[in-house]
């Protein structure tokens, strides 16, 4: 059974790359960054929570050596209490994906790390999480190039786009950088930016708690829908939105 494949990377490669349109294979989404501290783990966690709330079976693989994602997602009981979300810490010998998953999200180290390259070999899609600062502009091309280079050996992998996180519209330097990113060739920038919110920053204070409601929520929901559309377009039909069916509409407000 394709969906119960052990994710052990032993070279047998029973990957959905061979059957990209098969409904039985999960979409493997790598969330990476150009450098540390971009809120990449928070974005990966938020997407997992939002899609889990929508009813998709989501597995989040924590592939970051400092294991930040599992620190947030594991509640007091030592497991992730969110609906439909399963969190796995890679390299603990149990990186086995449960059967019948819809989406696998991998919290991936910065794109230029060799470890990230290994993840890209398994991924169907990659999101780069960035800040809108001048250092980001200096280092983003290298990260983008790293992802694109990985496509040479994994042709089915898409670069879904660049998300700007922790954006402070009151910061003039940031707004300037954001406009430069928006105008960047390639159309890789994905709207909208995720605003700076202390609620998101404080999320790890309550491990296992739900994605905190904050003014950043509309941005996160919108991004979750955008990426869902992209995954559906790539052949994962069951992820497609039906009329009026979106994360934005399915939750609370």
């Amino acid at each position: 059974m394709m969906s119960s494949t052990a994710f052990n990377g032993n070279g047998a490669s029973p990957m959905p790359t061979e059957q990209p349109n098969s409904l039985s294979t999960p979409y493997i989404l790598a969330v990476t960054s150009h450098k540390g501290g971009t809120g990449r783990t928070t974005l990966a966690l938020a997407l997992a929570w939002l899609w889990g709330q929508r009813g998709f079976a989501v597995t989040l693989i924590d592939a970051d050596p400092i294991k930040a994602a599992s620190l947030v997602a594991f509640g007091p009981g030592g497991f992730c209490p969110w609906d439909n979300v399963n969190v796995i810490v890679a390299r603990q010998g149990v990186a086995r994906i449960p059967p019948k998953q819809d989406i696998i999200i991998i919290d991936t180290p910065p794109a230029t790390e060799p470890l990230a390259q290994k993840v890209f070999q398994k991924a169907n899609g990659v999101i780069i999480c960035s800040l809108a600062d001048s250092l980001a502009l200096n280092t983003l091309p290298a990260a983008t190039k790293a992802v694109i280079e990985a496509q040479a050996t994994n042709e089915t992998m898409d670069l879904l786009g660049i998300v700007v996180n922790i954006f402070n519209p009151a910061d003039l330097a940031q707004t300037r950088c954001l406009s430069l990113l928006r105008g960047a060739p390639g159309g890789l920038f994905v709207e909208p930016p995720i605003p700076l919110r202390s609620e998101l920053r404080e999320w790890p204070r309550q491990p296992g708690s739900n994605l905190p409601d904050s003014p950043a929520m509309p941005s996160l929901r919108s991004l979750a829908d955008t990426f869902r559309d992209q995954m559906a377009e790539a052949g994962w039909d069951r992820l497609a939105r039906r009329k009026g069916d979106s994360v934005a509409h399915s939750i609370g407000s």
């Binding site: 400092i66 294991k67 091309p141 202390s198």
Partner: protein, 429 residues
């Protein structure tokens, strides 16, 4: 020679900014400083707009340690920056080799201080850096994600210490995210919860972003900004600037100074404590004393601090990570893959995008699909450009021994001349 590592388990907390500014302050105080850009992303280079091509603000030359990396001299007066990786590689092995060759390299004799900017915590690099350093400054952002993952780094330090490294923790530097004010309740809460946090705290300062845009250290661009003041106080308390030696001392007496620094740090260092990594961290500063000094602008040395002790099992520290820190096995999926499974190395990490130049050339955004055209690889395939930018000038072929020998000769002559001058000076008196 003092070697200070600026490290953190987490990225984006201000490591590079801290390393660049501490190194700059030491250089401004007359020390000869070498800043090692150990981050494979080349964060220091990206901050100071140093590249391997002719776009660089300073001319890159091959490094004299392994010959693979590049060095930019006098980025600030007395401050040299070195990138130990070859142009198309970010491999752990290159850094490990560089660090092993560094102490015996003639290059290291030139400097009073070596400051190392650490990469993210993965692979062999963090351990190698800790082993090569005498002192480590941990940078933490005042937010839960940063402090919750701190035990992983302390655990790594314990491991390295157990393997015989002699690195001393000089404290934890807190940097504030946007929206957290200095002296705020959030800052106080973290101070109460965690021991070993330095009294200096780096506030969120938009000028840091502006300094990055200019490619210059914050302490030079904004000499009076809030963050600069804190970096000054920190540099003073770390002893990077307290010595008011002349800016340039003859090479002959340089070794004497270096020798005295070494003996001082091993015998009289008040922060010296073998027990540090065995379960206690140091709170190396008496806050009141230092704060009084800083607020008066007093440049005197702070009183020897009382080392506070804590046990990791105290409730002040969060529990260790599930499964502990796993540094050696870098395979996400639990089993090794052939090394050739994917591209191991990354070209283009020194590629730099300059917003101002883009604005000047039509206002288009950065080309995120590919690095800017002026990279060393391109230049390699299109000879005939400016000689400085040729890869040969940056990374000599192994057979091309001219440059290193020339450098060694120059070094020898300079040392001889300086020694003669010093001898003449002293004898003449």
């Amino acid at each position: 020679l003092r070697t200070l590592l600026v490290a953190s388990q987490k990225g984006g907390v201000g490591k590079t900014t801290t390393a660049v500014n501490l190194a700059t302050l030491a250089a401004q105080a007359g020390k000869r400083v070498l800043l090692i850009d150990a981050d494979p992303l080349g964060s220091v280079g990206a901050s100071l707009l140093l590249t391997r091509d002719d776009e660089s603000t300073h001319v890159p030359r091959p490094d004299a340690v392994t010959g693979r990396g590049v060095v930019w001299s006098n980025v600030v007066q007395n401050l040299d920056v070195i990138n130990p990786y070859s142009a198309d590689s970010t491999s752990d092995e290159e850094l490990v080799e560089f660090l092993a060759a560094m102490p015996t390299s003639p290059l290291s004799r030139f400097y009073d201080f070596v400051v190392m900017d650490a990469p993210p915590m993965m692979g062999a690099r963090p351990k190698a850096l800790l082993k090569a350093a005498q002192e480590v400054l941990i940078v933490q952002r005042a937010e839960p994600m940063s402090f919750r993952t701190l035990p992983a780094y302390l655990e790594l330090m314990r491991e390295v210490k157990a393997e015989g490294a002699n690195v001393q923790l000089r404290g934890i530097l807190m940097t504030l995210p946007s929206g957290v004010a200095m002296g705020s309740k959030a800052e106080q809460t973290i101070r109460e919860k965690f021991k070993g946090i330095l009294p200096q705290v780096i506030p969120f300062d938009p000028e840091i972003n502006n300094a990055l845009m200019l490619g210059r250290p914050l302490v030079m661009v904004q000499p009076t900004s809030a963050a600069t003041k804190q970096y000054r106080a920190l540099a003073l308390s770390l002893g990077l600037t307290k010595d008011t030696a002349p800016a340039r001392v003859p090479q002959a007496s340089m070794t004497m100074i270096i020798g005295s620094v070494n003996s001082q740090s091993s015998e009289d260092d008040p922060y010296e404590d073998d027990d540090v990594m065995g379960g206690t961290t140091q709170a190396p500063v008496v806050e009141k004393i230092l704060r009084a000094h800083v607020s008066r602008g007093n440049t005197a040395v702070a009183e020897p601090p009382v080392a506070k002790k804590y046990k990791p099992s105290d409730s002040t520290f969060l529990p260790a990570l599930p499964g502990g820190h796993d540094d050696d096995d870098a395979d996400v999926f639990g089993s090794p893959e052939p090394e050739s499974a994917g591209p191991k190395t990354m070209a283009g990490r020194t590629q730099t995008f300059y917003p101002d130049r883009v604005a000047a050339t039509g206002g288009k955004g950065p080309n995120l699909l590919a690095p800017p055209p002026t990279n060393s690889k391109k230049l390699a395939s299109s000879p005939g450009t400016r000689p400085v930018a040729k890869p040969a000038a940056v990374r000599p072929e192994p057979t091309e021994e001219g440059t290193p020998i020339w450098q060694l000769l120059a070094l020898g002559i300079a040392t001889f001349v300086a020694a003669t001058a010093a001898a003449w000076f002293f004898v003449g008196r």
